[in-house]
C-alpha cells in the first residue's frame, strides 16, 4: 500500500473500530464483569459466580428462561408454517402487478411501530374488544370474554410482529427458483408433495434459515408483546432483565440475566447455522 492509501485505510478503519469497540465489545465485556461480582457492602464488591448461581437455582428464573426459549422456538416454527404458503403464493402464483401489490401489503404494516400493532391486538382481544363483542353477537358467548393475557394471545402477537422477517427472505429465495425446474419435477412423475419436499424446500433453505434466525432473535428479545398481551404466568426473560435493572436496581443479577439471554441466542443462532452448513456472512450480509 502506498503511503496515501495507507492513511485513507486507517481513516476508514477508525470509525469502525470506535463503533464496535466502544459500543459493542467493551460494553459487553463490562457487562460480563459486572455479572461476575457480588456486593459485599456499600461500594465493596467481590468477584464471584453468585449471580449465576442465583439465576440457576431459583426456580422462577430458570423456568422463565426455558419457557422463553421454548416459546420463541414455537413462535418461529409457527411463523414459518404460516408464512411459507403465503410467500410461495406471492413468489410463484401471483404475477405482475398483483405480485407487487401483495408484497407491498406485506411490507407496509411493519413500517408501523410495534407498539401500534400490539395496541391493535389489545383493542381486538380485550374483554370489551371487538372479538368478544362479535362472539356475543353471533351467539357463541353469552357474556364478555377476556381473550388477552394468555399464552395463545401472546403467540398471536409474537407471530404477527415478526412475520415480515420471514416473508421477505422466503419470497426472495422462492422467486429465484425457475418455474421450469418445478415443471420438470412434475414431468418426471413427482406429486405435489414430493416436488415440495425435494425441490422447493431445499431451494428455499437459505431463506428459511435466515428468516428463522431473525424471527427467533426478535421473539426472544421481545419485551412489548409479552408485557402487553401475555398474562401473569407468561413472564418473559426480557421482563426479568428490565425488572432487575430498572425496578430493583440489582444490576449484577440483571447483567447475569442479560448474559444468559445473549448466550442462549448465540447458541441457537450458531446451532442453526451449523446444522445447515451456512455462515453468518451468507445469511445476514
Amino acid at each position: 500500500m502506498r503511503s496515501q492509501s495507507r492513511i485513507t485505510f486507517y481513516l476508514l478503519l477508525t470509525p469502525l473500530v470506535l463503533w464496535l469497540g466502544l459500543l459493542i465489545i467493551i460494553p459487553h465485556i463490562d457487562m460480563l464483569l459486572i455479572s461476575l461480582r457480588e456486593r459485599i457492602s456499600f461500594g465493596v464488591y467481590e468477584t464471584s459466580l453468585a449471580q449465576y448461581e442465583k439465576a440457576l437455582t431459583e426456580p422462577l428464573y430458570l423456568r422463565t428462561f426455558w419457557r422463553t426459549a421454548v416459546m420463541s422456538v414455537l413462535a418461529t416454527a409457527l411463523t414459518l408454517m404460516i408464512a411459507f404458503p403465503v410467500s410461495y403464493y406471492i413468489a410463484k402464483m401471483a404475477k405482475g402487478r398483483l405480485q407487487q401489490v401483495l408484497f407491498l401489503l406485506c411490507l407496509i404494516p411493519f413500517y408501523v411501530s410495534e407498539l401500534v400493532r400490539t395496541f391493535g391486538w389489545m383493542i381486538l382481544l380485550r374483554e370489551t374488544g371487538l372479538v368478544s363483542n362479535l362472539l356475543q353477537w353471533v351467539g357463541l358467548a353469552d357474556r364478555p370474554i377476556e381473550l388477552l393475557y394468555t399464552d395463545a394471545t401472546m403467540m398471536v402477537g409474537l407471530v404477527y410482529t415478526s412475520m415480515l422477517f420471514m416473508v421477505v427472505p422466503l419470497v426472495t429465495t422462492l422467486e429465484s427458483l425457475d418455474d421450469s425446474v418445478i415443471e420438470a419435477g412434475y414431468d418426471l412423475g413427482g406429486s405435489g408433495l414430493s416436488v415440495l419436499r425435494e425441490i422447493i424446500i431445499p431451494h428455499a433453505m437459505p431463506g428459511i434459515v435466515s428468516g428463522c434466525i431473525v424471527v427467533f432473535m426478535l421473539s426472544l428479545g421481545n419485551y412489548l408483546t409479552p408485557t402487553m398481551l401475555g398474562g401473569k404466568d407468561s413472564l418473559w426473560f426480557t421482563e426479568m432483565i428490565y425488572n432487575q435493572f430498572i425496578v430493583r436496581s440489582n444490576w449484577e443479577l440483571g447483567a447475569a440475566f442479560g448474559f444468559m439471554l445473549l448466550v442462549l441466542s448465540s447458541v441457537i443462532v450458531w446451532g442453526m447455522l451449523w446444522l445447515t452448513g451456512r455462515t453468518l456472512k451468507e445469511t445476514m450480509g
Binding site: 496515501q4 485513507t8 485505510f9 476508514l12 470509525p15 469502525l16 463503533w19 459500543l23 459493542i24 465489545i25 460494553p27 459487553h28 463490562d30 457487562m31 459486572i34 404458503p85 403465503v86 410463484k92 402464483m93 407491498l104 401489503l105 411490507l107 413500517y111 408501523v112 411501530s113 410495534e114 407498539l115 401500534v116 395496541f119 391493535g120 389489545m122 383493542i123 381486538l124 370489551t128 371487538l130 404477527y160 418445478i182 415443471e183 405435489g192 415440495l196 431473525v214 432473535m217 428479545g221 419485551y223 412489548l224 426480557t238 432483565i241 428490565y242 435493572f245 430498572i246 444490576w251 447483567a255 442479560g258 439471554l261 445473549l262 441466542s265 453468518l280 456472512k281 445476514m284 450480509g285
Partner: protein
C-alpha cells in the same frame, strides 16, 4: 403448484382463501387502531359513540386532540431529534465501513466483517443494558478520579442515540455496501486518468453513484430509530421519545388519543416507506 401446472379447483379456492385470510390477519389490528381514532368516547372500544375529529383537533378536556397535547408533541420532537442524529451518524459510519470492506484487503477482514454483523443478532434489550452498564462505569470512574459528574453518561438522550446507533449502523453498512459492490471501478480510474486526485474522483463519481443507497439508508435508519422500543427502554432518561411516552400511557389505560397518534404514525411511516420504494424503483 405453479400456474402452468393444472390444479384442482377446490385446491385453488382453498389456497386463495388461505392467502386472503393471511392478509386479513395482517390488516386487522391496524385497521382497528385507525377506525377507533374517530370514536366519540373515552375508550377505544365498542360501543361506537359516533364520529368525531376531536382526538386530533379537540382543545378541551376530556377530549384533547393530538395537536393540542403538549406531552405527545414534545415526545414527537424528541423522537425526531434522536432519529435524525442516529440516521446521520449511522449513514456516515456505514459509508466509511462500506468503502473499507469493499476497497481494502487486510488481515482480520473476515473477522471484522462478522463482528460488524453481530449487532443484528444481539437482542435489543441486551444492547441497551450493555451500553447502560458501560456508560455508568465510565461516569463512576470519572467521578472517583476527578469528582466531576458527567450527566451525559447517565440515562438520557445521548445514551438513547448511541444505543440505537450501535445496531442501526450495521443495517446502513449493509445497504450502502450492496450498492458499492455494483460500482464499476473503471469509472473512478477514468477520472484519475483525466487528472482528478483520489478525493475528487470519489466525491464527483463514486458518491453520486452511492447517493440513492445513502438516502435509502437515511430513511430506513430514521424509521428504525423512530420506532425503536427495546433499546430505548433501557436507556431513556427524563425526556421520553414517542414510543416510550405512548407505552407509559398505554399502561395506565388508553383513550382514542393513542389511536389518533398511532394513525398519524402509520400515515407518516407508510408515506416515507412508499416514497422510499418508489425512489428506489426509479434509481
Amino acid at each position: 403448484m405453479i400456474p402452468t401446472i393444472p390444479q384442482s379447483r377446490s385446491f385453488r379456492i382453498l389456497y386463495g382463501g388461505y392467502v386472503a385470510l393471511f392478509f386479513l390477519y395482517l390488516a386487522l389490528p391496524l385497521t382497528v387502531v385507525a377506525v377507533f381514532a374517530f370514536n366519540d368516547s373515552q375508550f377505544p372500544s365498542l360501543p361506537w359513540e359516533g364520529f368525531t375529529w376531536n382526538w386530533f383537533f379537540g382543545e378541551e378536556r376530556p377530549q384533547i386532540g393530538v395537536f393540542h397535547e403538549r406531552g405527545i408533541l414534545r415526545s414527537v420532537g424528541t423522537s425526531a431529534f434522536v432519529a435524525l442524529c442516529v440516521a446521520i451518524m449511522s449513514v456516515c459510519v456505514g459509508t466509511t465501513n462500506a468503502f473499507l470492506f469493499n476497497r481494502y484487503e487486510f488481515r482480520g477482514k473476515g473477522f471484522l466483517y462478522v463482528l460488524m454483523l453481530l449487532p443484528l443478532v444481539i437482542p435489543g434489550i441486551v444492547l441497551g443494558i450493555s451500553v447502560l452498564v458501560f456508560s455508568s462505569t465510565l461516569a463512576n470512574g470519572v467521578w472517583d478520579m476527578a469528582q466531576i459528574d458527567i450527566q451525559a453518561l447517565r440515562p438520557g438522550l445521548l445514551l438513547v442515540i448511541l444505543g440505537q446507533f450501535s445496531f442501526i449502523t450495521t443495517i446502513a453498512t449493509l445497504v450502502i455496501s450492496a450498492r458499492l459492490q455494483k460500482f464499476d471501478r473503471t469509472l473512478e480510474e477514468a477520472a484519475l486518468n483525466l487528472g482528478a486526485d483520489r478525493l475528487t474522483a470519489v466525491r464527483t463519481i463514486t458518491l453520486p453513484f452511492l447517493a440513492p443507497a445513502m438516502i435509502g439508508a437515511v430513511v430506513v435508519a430514521f424509521l428504525m430509530s423512530f420506532e425503536n422500543f427495546n433499546t430505548t427502554l433501557m436507556l431513556v432518561g427524563s425526556d421520553a421519545p414517542l414510543t416510550i411516552a405512548m407505552f407509559d400511557r398505554l399502561k395506565e389505560g388508553s383513550t382514542p388519543l393513542l389511536n389518533a397518534v398511532s394513525l398519524l404514525l402509520m400515515l407518516g411511516s407508510s408515506l416515507l416507506a412508499l416514497m422510499l420504494i418508489l425512489f428506489q424503483k426509479r434509481g
